[in-house]
Amino acid sequence: MPVRHLRPTSSAHAGLVEWLLQRVSSLYMAGFVVYLILRFAASPVSDYAAWKSWFAGGVVRLACALFILSLLVHAWVGLRSIYMDYLHPLWLRFGISLLTAFGLLALGLWSAEILLTVNS
């Protein structure tokens, strides 16, 4: 939806933060994915040693961490709007949202574990 069509229905900024997070995270992820494609097209990784040494780099892991964070935020906002459109009983929407939130948090912690233990 175009920016100029956004109208507050409750408080003046309700939903605007989510709207913005969705866009900002998508820009970061799109940039990162394009970088990954170009990087691995330029010099394909064929063995474990090359793959691990690439991933173990500090900048790569930091970029991956930001990617995962963007992904979780993006997924949360996206799923939330799907739920708001299709899950009408409040208890169902709340229940599924709660499961989603814990699920995404678990995926985030799991990714953090991978990112932090790759060098050990």
Binding site: V3, Y48, W51, G78, I82, I114, V118
Partner: protein, 127 residues
Amino acid sequence: MEMDKNKNRPVYLNLFQIRLPVGGVASILHRITGAVLVLLLPFAIYMLQRSLQDPAAFADIVARLGTPFGRFILLVSVWIFAQHFFSGVRHLLQDIDIGLEKTAARRSAWLTFVGSGLVVILTGLCL
């Protein structure tokens, strides 16, 4: 009495006979692919973890992705991502008022399908 009459109004919700405009198809695909991508996320994280574990696990992942079934899953996943990527770009451009006019919006919806199709073909050629 009035209420009863209203309840008898014809309801036309046969989803197979409603012709969704192409922009609507791109939009609903954006949602469906987005939801599926979230469901694929645990598998992607698991594969990342396994691939970094040891050389044998890495070789195992590569071998599994090389089987016909592995390639099929990979190509479907690539299509889902590419479709979400291109329809996402389309929405971002519409956010800044690019391609809002009817014919332009229709053309860009078709372009997302063409784009994701091309990405799948390119990936297939590279496999």
